[in-house]
Symmetry: C2
Subunit: 504 residues, 2 copies
């Protein structure tokens, strides 16, 4: 009942706002399985050239060949691959495809690389990239909550001095379109998004990701704690929070019934923004639906102390989530900087995943996450930009910061190199590691048959910032790309076989 009411309200809202894009005017993507067209040449593509990936934490794979991608099922899956083939004709012949199948070639000075996976990103904070002050709790009050609320209410402090506040929904449309297109331009093919408390614009974010073609998990943030959350930006009650959570879940599931391109994600923002009651209810929802979950954990020392004070009955921050059934093998824990050994063991036992956000942790002075220690305990780790605690929308920048934080930890521990996060490992975290974090293990992060074609074409030409002299090995070229590359090196981006971004 609650759900039906919400959907009706949403439908009304959708027509009430002239800014609201009409889903019907967009190309269906992926083609609904109901109208499954018969397999024909147009649904096949061959990709030929250099393929580079990080299939393991210490392994950089560089090979030349071709893959056949079939989109007839609407999923853009790698059907077959041939390696060590140096020309297109041999490749298509070995793949057994007709000459009419289109062949997409990687630039000679470039390569295909698995799309990046941003396992922790706040879509509404996109305009705040590069704006921060103080540490976590002050920053939330000064920058984050005002910006997030400005996308759904004119009561936001952002508009305190405006004579005529702008339409918050128009702003949401601009911001969400911006964050999707920008992160795609940096090669992020999958994003696990925190939206806001607002259902309508959370759904808008899902809709935009679906239409633009970015793989996305979209979560309405739960903020029913009446003491912690600001008066202008909170759920009215636990019931209100849960109703709205369901409303957004149902809308997004209706948008993409397969859940493969866009899916809802249960999002108890972080323990302080919630209550025992909402945490319990969200745990039930996640258990009932089998959906992914995402939340912040152990980001900042003061936050950890606050949680201990707010949840005295739990043994630790991880314990709070575990006590409410929120630590599952589909849970993405953002930051995870200050875990005790006991918390690490608990997280490992529950098979919950970690989104490492080094740029954010360093910029906000949150601390140095023990990535190698967590990995050695069997915890699966991926990377998150944490836009806009992190200042950059780029997972490549996050790769660099993961390296630098690892190196600083090594230095502080008397040059203990077992704490290093080498660039290959950081690339692994940003692709294959991320795939495991978002429960897409075996579907994303590489070039194996059966995987989805979520790929970026990197070029190291004069347009971009990477200066190649010509004598460098390909290992060295990858290292040069890691350290100076940006979206000028991302020529084309595909999600599920569909071309979704091209360098302008």
């Amino acid at each position: 009942m609650m759900f039906l009411t919400a959907v009706v309200l949403l439908a009304a809202a959708a027509t009430a706002h002239p800014w609201h894009p009409e889903a019907s005017s967009w190309p269906a993507f992926p083609p609904s399985s109901g109208s499954n067209s018969s397999s024909n040449d147009k649904t096949q593509q061959v990709f030929f050239g250099r393929f580079i990936s990080a299939p393991g934490p210490n392994e950089l794979s560089i090979k030349t060949g071709a893959v056949l991608v079939t989109s007839s099922d609407g999923r853009g899956t790698i059907e077959a691959a041939v390696w060590d083939v140096q020309d297109v004709q041999s490749a298509t012949s070995q793949l057994g495809v007709s000459s009419e199948v289109p062949v997409v070639q990687a630039a000679d000075d470039g390569f295909f690389f698995p799309g990046f996976i941003d396992a922790h990103i706040h879509a509404p904070q996109y305009p705040n990239l590069g704006l921060f002050e103080g540490t976590l709790l002050e920053w939330l009050e000064k920058y984050t909550f005002p910006m997030e609320s400005s996308l759904s209410t004119t009561e936001s402090p952002m508009y305190a001095n405006a004579t005529t506040p702008p339409d918050p929904y128009a702003r949401a449309l601009e911001v969400y379109t911006g964050v999707i297109k920008t992160t795609l331009s940096y090669g992020t093919t999958t994003a696990s998004y925190y939206a806001t408390i607002d259902v309508e614009t959370t759904n808008l974010l899902a809709q935009l990701a679906y239409s633009i073609g970015q793989r996305a998990y979209v979560g309405r943030t739960c903020q029913d704690n009446q003491e912690y959350n600001p008066s202008y930006y909170k759920d009215e009650s636990t019931e209100d929070a849960i109703n709205k959570t369901w409303a957004s879940i149902k809308y997004i599931q209706n948008l993409d019934p397969s859940g493969e391109l866009v899916a809802p994600i249960v999002t108890p923002r972080f323990a302080p923004s919630c209550t025992n009651e909402s945490l319990t209810e969200l745990g039930k929802i996640a258990n009932e639906t089998g959906l992914r979950l995402q939340m912040h954990m152990d980001e900042n020392v003061k936050e950890v102390a606050l949680v201990a004070e707010m949840y005295p009955e739990s043994k630790s921050y991880a314990g709070v989530y575990d006590d409410h059934g929120l630590l599952t093998n589909r849970s993405i824990l953002g930051h995870a900087v200050h875990l005790t050994d006991e918390e690490m063991d608990l997280v490992a036992a529950r098979e919950a995943k970690v989104a490492h956000c080094p740029a954010s942790n360093s910029a906000l002075g949150s601390g140095l996450a023990q990535v190698r220690k967590m990995m050695s305990k069997g915890i699966v780790v991926g990377l998150g930009t944490d836009t806009a605690g992190g200042y950059s929308p780029s997972i490549l920048e996050t790769v660099r910061q993961a390296f630098l934080v690892g190196r600083t930890l090594s230095y502080l521990d008397n040059d203990n190199r077992s704490l290093d996060v080498p660039t290959t490992m950081a690339l692994y975290l940003g692709t294959m590691g991320g795939a495991k974090v978002v429960s897409m293990d075996g579907k994303l992060g590489g070039f194996e048959a059966g995987m989805l074609w979520d790929v970026q074409e990197i070029v190291l030409d004069k347009t971009g910032p990477v200066d190649i002299f010509g004598w460098e090995t390909w290992n060295e070229r990858v290292s040069k790309w890691v350290w100076n590359g940006n979206n000028q090196n991302v020529n084309r981006v595909w999600v599920g076989g569909r071309l979704v971004s091209e360098r302008s």
Copy 2:
């Protein structure tokens, strides 16, 4: 005598190599004072628009107005400035210039900003940006010495597997042209360059900076220690080292007798590469000529231990330099990560300067330099990319890393915010601080009358990576630029009033 021989040899070398650019075919810059043309309109320019700078470590200045730049003396100096003027006509009228004087306007969505000063950069390592492994001493052996030697000898290990080694001088021309043009494109108007042990290509670097128009201090590295330096890359003896030092000094002084655009800098690379004898001689040269000096100091824990072993008679690393007369008020100490309190006091007493290289220190795991502590002791600090220990040619990236290192130090010292290096302070270090470090205090780093017009025009348009929504204050726009800007935001760059780089 020694000098004359060297110059003759150089002249011979210049004609012997077909790659060697002919100085006579380049525009003289600045016009030699001998042919000083009379002041006329063509030597004047007005710059109008928004001017942003960091005149003090805690001060960001944002103002609109115009400055009159006079180039008739070949120096491109700010003659007068008017502020709080909103239109060009009022500005030129208040400046008292005729309507024929050309007016250069900053873009509406942009601003003039003082050119960056890179106080520590290795020109020959430019092709190694993004390539590093291990910590300092291993990295020097594996990447640095092979690359540096490859610019002057076919004996370099870089060519070990080459069937036909390329012409090292042609490579030097390519690399040095690349580093100058690239750093200019990132807004670096002044660079304090380490070259190599080779005189001819060190002079080539000076010549290229002079012709392309980057303000540059160019130093031949002294490496006469027969045990420490690799066999393929060392001076033959102390006498050889000193002869070559003089040869390069004289050549560069002859190239720019004013010493204002390009000047030699005495460069005892670092204590391990030298001997007591060469350090003594270099101290005498610096004292005799009044030239600037540059050297590495206290970069890495193992290096500090090595120096203690090699120079047991000195009290500390700073003491080694001081004992040889190398700690002067014109000395630029690269890195300065591991100074003891006594070393800081010594450096402060000698008024020697520090080039903080946070990107390099973090990437090589060298440590966290105590910038705020050094500043509180009165030591003047600027920024260096340390290309290619640092992975980026950009001082703006160095600004970001200076902030992140300061924030990490704050975190490690229980959120002690007095260790922070806020972005305004980091921008100050990269401009005004750098001006003091390279002994150009009062001439570079700001927009005051009497200062040189070494300026970059920053634009925050859609071409670049900074996403401006329109509601941001200018303080916020600067912060967004700091965190996501790159050379796509650098529209034009001037040195001494001359336009030397334009965005392509």
